[in-house]
Each structure stands twice: as structure tokens, then as C-alpha cells.
Symmetry: C3
Subunit: 174 residues, 3 copies
Amino acid sequence: MSVVMERPDSTCAAAGGRVPQEVRQRLEDFLAGYCHQIDDGDIDSWPGFFAERCVYEITTRQNVEAGLPIGIMYCEGRGMLEDRIKAMKTANIFEQHVYCHLTGRPEIREEGPASYSLRSNFAIYRTMYTGAAELFATGKYLDTVSLAEGEPFFTRRKVVLDSRSLDTLLVIPF
Amino acid sequence: MSVVMERPDSTCAAAGGRVPQEVRQRLEDFLAGYCHQIDDGDIDSWPGFFAERCVYEITTRQNVEAGLPIGIMYCEGRGMLEDRIKAMKTANIFEQHVYCHLTGRPEIREEGPASYSLRSNFAIYRTMYTGAAELFATGKYLDTVSLAEGEPFFTRRKVVLDSRSLDTLLVIPF
Amino acid sequence: MSVVMERPDSTCAAAGGRVPQEVRQRLEDFLAGYCHQIDDGDIDSWPGFFAERCVYEITTRQNVEAGLPIGIMYCEGRGMLEDRIKAMKTANIFEQHVYCHLTGRPEIREEGPASYSLRSNFAIYRTMYTGAAELFATGKYLDTVSLAEGEPFFTRRKVVLDSRSLDTLLVIPF
């Protein structure tokens, strides 16, 4: 009655898709460090997680499924990320609330020499100055991380939000 | 005044309860792949995570603590899971909202030859077509996963919800 | 235009900050077991996760940033934790709701012989007897765990809440 089903491709359980344990640890440390740095409000360090040549993109699930190329934000190169931080600090909005990032275990694939693609789910909570913690956003990170320079750098971070709408100016990095 | 307390049994920190690192990685990849597959809407692949002979069960914490055998849902065998997916697709309800699963680190025990029991916490977020992300359910997974066929398959997944009530027809797999 | 940015110190990606894989696994198992034990309502076992000489502290992010030494709760020694559990059981409040802890991957540093500092994000969900699951608190754990006695014990757990206010008597351990 029931058919033998093929294991879906996207799981890393498939032989060959596994990266060495030492690489996985480094990449997971990198992702955790990123969350902690942002959550601790160390915004200046944010561009330092990215390679000089990089893409940082925020879009929505709906846009992706509709095949729309334009999302909510698109930055190319670390310089644009630095500009964004400068703008944030000038506007001085970012001190009014704090964030807490939780991410799931990433699926990791080797994409090329010292280059890895990662997919992980995330939930971000926000706490306003006077209030309680609340759910801010959920979605997935689609990352490419390079170890070519010794330590890990994002060459691409694509943030895919589950929701179409956000009640914010997106001043805080995802 | 204070007594030396025995470490609770359920932690895997106890010697002997530890599974080999390579096995842990495979099982954790399996759990992460499961979440991602469902969250990406690839519902057809869902039964493929289960062994031909399996039990998939959804119940509530309250039921478990009261010793009640009947929960919210009980499926035996992969065929029943496939039927469930067919019903979902016919009803065509599942496209109106998307889900995001986050799971905690599993505690893993070897139960027998190539068979492992896992316990992990989860939070599932739901985003309706027009709205913001919201918390949908929390609870724990009590799983048995077999590696006997080379790659991992659930022989049992018992979903224990913290809440007694759910505002849904449970069309999406947990 | 863009400057080479130094990688922030707090990431464990930096060489030398990495702890052996076997130690990481034990510490992560310890943290997961702690969450599961509490979420399963096994409150009596809670002090057993702490060393005889320990500090357990709950404070808020705002207090920490303002440099205020006094937080929400401060316990010194396992005896105080046991007293707290006795008080909880006398008050008998704790059965009315259940909790679900999710924690992010910890950043781990070796602090001294068999002593490790850990930093991890957390989200705690609460489900009242009659209701749905809701977000209860988010924040970070700043832990020191000792392996000197063979198995892990907290010598310090500092819970830093994102929010200034909690609608509870804090009867459940964080």
C-alpha cells in the first residue's frame, strides 16, 4: 500500500553532504557569536562579520516564492554595511529596544574551496524599554560563509522573513 | 545543612549515556532537516522521514500526566501518514500560513542496536498570509530514530504539547 | 572607503578560545538536561545542578548596564537553592503553569582548570493551565561550570533578563 519514499534532498543526512566536524564547530561558533554580538548592542562590530565583497539581503518568503528579485533591503560590499551602521547611530533610534536571537541547528553544505552554504531557522525577540519581551520576526537565514581568509566571513547572508510586514525601520541587523 | 544531591537521571551527562559524536551529528542533522523540509512547505516529503513501521502521535502534556492513552492524533505505519498528506492537499488549507520550527539540543540515548531515543524541546511559530509571526505551540518531542537501514528514520515520534488547546485542524505536521 | 574591521573579541571563532569537542558536548548536554528537568516539573532536582559553593543570580539587562549590583534575586550556596525549592513547594503555586526553555548554542571559554564560562541566549515560554503557550521571558545566561568533580556543576549562573518587569513571583527556576 505505502510506497518507499525517497529521502528529501535538502537534509544533510545524505552521504557526502557532511562537512568535517571541526568545520561545523567553527561555522556554528561564528553564527552564535554574530547573534550575541548584536544582542549585546555591539553594532559597530557587525560589518566585521562580512567579507569585503559580500551581499547582505533582507526579503520575505512571499517575495522569494513569487520570484521577485527585489526584497526589503539589499547591500553589496562591506562598505554599504558600514554606512548603514553610521546612519543608525546618527538616527540614534537603536537604544530604545533590545533584541534576542535564537537560531536552529544549521544545515551545512560545502559549496567550493573553503566555502560553505548554511540554512538555519531563526526567531528574534524584541523588548521595548518599558515593556515585556515579544516575538519580533521569524524566518530563515540562507548564508554563504568563507573560511578562505582563515577565519569565517559571510560572503552572503540572505534573510528570508516569514511575514510580509514589519513594524520597524529595520535599523537593527538581522 | 545542605545535602549532597544526586544528579538527576535524565541528563545525558551521566557516563555511559553518551552516544558517539558521529551518531549525534547524524541524528541532529536529521531533526534539523525535518524542520526545514516542513517549514519550506515540502509536505510530500514528510512521510519519507518515517520508517515503514512507525508510530506518529500528538498528545498533550495534561493527557500524559493523567495517564490517558488517547491523545489528539495517532498514526500507525507510514501509509497512514501518506493518507494524511493526501487529505491535506485535497482540503488545500495548508497554503494559507507558514511555519517556523525551532528545537533545542536533543538528549540522546542508545536504546538498542542502531536505535536511539531523543528528547528535545520545540517552539513552532506560525505566520498567517496577511499577518505577523506568532507563537503557535511549544512542547517536547519524544522520538525513537533507527539507523538500521543506513540512514535515519523515525520509528516513533510522540509530540507532547504544553497546551491543551490548539486553534487549528492540525493539518501541518509537527 | 571601507576599513578592514577587526573580528569582535566575543566570538569563540578566535583561535585559542576553542574548547575540546568532548568538553563542549558534556557542557551542552548539561545545559539541555537542566532545561528538560525543569520543564518536566522535576523541581527537586534543580539544586543538584549546582556546586555546593555557587552563586545563582537573576538580574535585568538594564541593571547590568547601569552597573547596579542588586538584581532580582541572589542566592549563595546550594543550601539557599534548596530552601527556595522548599518554599515553592509549601506555597504550592508552581503546578498551575508549565514552562518550555529554548537555548541557543553557547559560546564557551576555558576560564581555568576544569572551569568554563558559557554565554547563551534563551527564550522561555509559559503555558497556563487553561490557555495557550505564550512568551514568558528572553535574555541570556552567563554561566560558569566546573568539571572538577567529574561531572558538571554550575558554580555560577547569572540570568540576565531582557525585560525590566516580570508578571510572576519567579517561583520557577530559570
